[in-house]
Amino acid sequence: MQRTHAELRRFITNNFLYGRDCGFRDDESFLEMGIIDSTGLLELINFLEKRYRIRVEDADLIPENLDSIDQLCRFVERKVENHCPTMASSILETQAI
């Protein structure tokens, strides 16, 4: 959980804030911060699908799932567990390394 948090934060920082972590909170909205636009959303989805081997369905694409570090983290965990409950912890562990 901690690692996923850190990893997602690193992705957001590097990709959308060009390496400058402006100290945003984990529950702060990406939309409100203005860091995710239509392209950013697609980048984020690509990252989640590749990194965590999950499939993000059209119905998942709502701000309630993807709009802060906390929400992302919960979303990824839920998806990984649904996808392959027995492997869940190991996927998250491996991916975090």
Binding site: Y18, G19, R20, D37, S38, T39, L42, L61, P63
Partner: protein
């Protein structure tokens, strides 16, 4: 078409001829046919000429009969024949058949008010020896440029900034507030430029320099008004057709052949079709095709060429072509840009020049004045959505926007609603239409270095623009407000300059824009908004007025704005020499404008192929072009254009 440059001292100190020659030499790409210089007590005027009208006698600078009034002129006055006739009837005697001389006599007749009578595109200087007064004037829409600065008690001016920088006493320093404006609006707000103490004469303005004082005032205003009495659509449609047709007719006045830019879009195809109505000869047309399918419009160009039977030439522009030409393009734009779009047009003008053409007509301006841009449509949908923010049906309209942006088309409705959301309070924002674009662009400022950020703290580009708005603006409907912002700022500040005058005249090509005939502009700005965009049909009136001249495929095609490949052009794997030098972390740190760490992360993203979005593209182009401006105009500015060569004739100093 030409270039002008000059120096006016407030005292009778002589002006250095070698310096004037050097200044005008820097601009000879604009006027390679001949040059001339006039110096008198405290005045020096220079001109580099591209001969288009009265080829053998139109040498410049030109004076009146007794030598008391001198002019150096860059541009065309399309109604010069009518004005000339009138002036002759009032007893004026002409020694040439040029439009330049018409201005001179009109000035004698009417003084400063003479500019109101001109229908054309110009940047000019008039020296009135009797009153020891220098006048600078610029056309209403800002087709042709005029820049100026003051050194001590002297005024120094020119068609391009590089001529001013040739003067040894003119300082070369970046204006951070100007940079901030480009990273918000894509252009500076005149008179500000990207350089400190270098000013742009705003479109539709006159500058008077006398006894060491500068006064700048407008002679024309862009105003929108809803007509008191609404006429039947058919009346407006007929009037527009007649006006645009006449604007084309006047713009064919030339002693050299006139060609056309034919992009395959609605506007340029209409102009080309109208030229055909006036000319018996086979018309030469020119266009850019792209190797990148996303940007390419050659199929539509082919349709238009087949339909209109023009003799067409096309250049094909690839990623590498943009990479290679970009530094030269920035030498001509003289300001940072956040799109590569000027580059293909720079390559196109080379082709036109090589084909032996000096003059082309284009469709520029129709989108601004007749409501063609997606930004107008976006504002309309956002207003509609704001009334019922949760309506799924209304949100679906958002897919009608930007059909060419595949990322946006893939975005789910829930997100689209958020991206384009507008609240009741937003609806009262005078910048409602433009805030999304400006906010997106302003995000690029995260790349500014800490020093630049702290220098800019407290400065607000949007407030500065707010301060320039005319009182009437607040009484106009939202559509007109959006049109005003596009036409008053982005059009002259970017479209007509970086994508227009500067890249066309880099290769001595004069572009003429019938849709920007002031009669067409004034007519369009007094039309009811609903006839410009009916529901979500853009340029409705134009299609009704002149659509019958076009093939159905072009009339019905979805609107695609002109764009060119951006960031990817600089990471094709070949010839990245200058980019890696100019974007190297130590260079970025030394120049001090951008945060080198953030820039290196952006470059990593491009190298990894992960940069796919418009924001990354705009950031890269904005940073690269700013670094090129710093390099070419500040750190390594090369003085001294060589003026005379074997091709230049009639070189004269008087």
């Amino acid at each position: 078409m030409c270039a002008i440059a000059g120096i006016c001292n407030s005292v009778d100190a002589p002006v250095s001829v070698p310096l004037l020659k050097e200044m005008i030499g820097m601009l000879r790409h604009r006027g390679p046919d001949e040059w001339g210089i006039h110096t008198g007590n405290g005045i020096g005027l220079g001109n580099a000429r591209l001969s288009i009208i009265d080829l053998n006698r139109g040498h410049q600078p030109l004076c009146n009969e007794d030598g008391s009034v001198w002019i150096t002129f860059n541009g065309e006055i399309f109604n010069y024949l009518e004005l000339r006739k009138e002036l002759i009837s009032r007893g004026h005697i002409f020694s040439t058949h040029t439009d330049t001389e018409v201005i001179l006599h009109l000035y004698e007749e009417k003084g400063e008010d003479c500019f109101r009578d001109l229908n054309g595109q110009w940047g000019l200087a008039i020296w009135d020896q009797r009153e020891r007064k220098l006048l600078l004037s610029r056309d209403r829409m800002g087709v042709r440029p005029v820049f100026y600065t003051q050194v001590g008690k002297s005024l120094i001016f020119g068609s391009e900034i590089k001529a001013l920088f040739t003067h040894p006493e003119v300082g070369r320093e970046l204006d951070l507030a100007g940079l901030d404006q480009i990273f918000t609006f894509w252009c500076t707000l005149p008179p500000r430029t990207i350089f400190k103490n270098i000013f742009e004469l705003p479109p539709g303005h006159t500058l008077v320099f006398a006894r060491g004082n500068i006064e700048v005032h407008p002679y024309w205003h862009l105003r929108f008004s809803q007509p008191a009495e609404i006429l039947a659509d058919g009346v407006y449609i007929e009037q527009l057709a007649a006006l645009v047709t006449d604007a084309v007719r006047m713009r064919l006045r030339s002693d050299v052949p006139v060609g056309a830019y034919l992009s395959g879009g609605l506007d340029s195809t209409i102009i080309t079709a109208l030229i055909n109505q006036f000319s018996g000869k086979k018309l030469r047309s020119f266009s850019v095709a792209f190797t990148s399918e996303d940007h390419d419009e050659r199929a539509f160009q082919h349709e238009a060429v087949q339909f209109l039977h023009t003799a067409h030439e096309q250049i094909e522009c690839g990623y590498d072509d943009i990479l290679v030409a970009f530094p030269d393009v920035i030498w001509h734009t003289e300001q940072p840009v956040i799109r590569t779009a000027p580059t293909p047009l720079y390559l196109l003008s080379q082709q036109v020049h090589d084909a032996g053409y000096k003059v082309v007509l284009t469709g520029e301006g129709a989108d601004e004045i007749l409501g063609g841009y997606d930004i107008y449509k976006e504002a309309k949908i956002r207003r509609f959505l704001a009334a019922q923010p949760n309506s799924p049906r209304r949100a679906q309209l958002l897919h009608r926007l930007y059909p060419y942006q595949s990322n946006l088309q893939k975005t789910p409705d829930a997100y689209l609603r958020r991206f384009f959301r507008a609240t009741a309070a937003d609806l009262n924002d005078p910048f409602f239409s433009h805030m999304p674009r400006w906010e997106l662009t302003a995000r690029l400022k995260t790349f500014f270095s800490d020093d630049v950020k702290s220098e800019l703290a407290g400065l607000d580009a949007i407030s500065e623009l707010f301060g320039q708005l005319p009182v009437e603006y607040f009484s106009w409907d939202g559509f007109s407000q959006a049109q005003y912002l596009e036409t008053k700022y982005l059009l002259p500040g970017y479209i007509l300059s970086s994508q227009g005058d500067r890249v066309a005249l880099a290769h001595a090509v004069e572009a003429r824009h019938p849709f920007l005939d002031y009669r067409v502009v004034e007519f369009a700005s007094a039309l009811p908004s609903r006839i410009k965009m009916r529901a979500l049909k853009e340029k409705y009136i134009l299609k009704r007025a002149l659509g019958h001249l076009l093939p159905a495929t072009i009339l019905q095609r979805p609107k695609q704005p002109y764009r060119s490949p951006d960031g990817r052009s600089f990471f094709t794997g070949i010839g990245e020499d200058y980019t890696s030098q100019i974007l190297a972390p130590e260079r970025i740190t030394a120049d001090g404008i951008f945060d080198s760490w953030a820039v290196s992360k952006l470059i990593e993203k491009f190298r990894a192929g992960d940069a796919v979005g418009v924001k990354d593209d705009m950031a890269l182009i904005g940073i690269l072009s700013t670094q090129l401006v710093l390099d070419q105009f500040i750190s390594n500015f090369q003085r001294g254009g060589s003026l005379c060569n074997e091709h230049m004739q009639n070189c004269a100093v008087s």
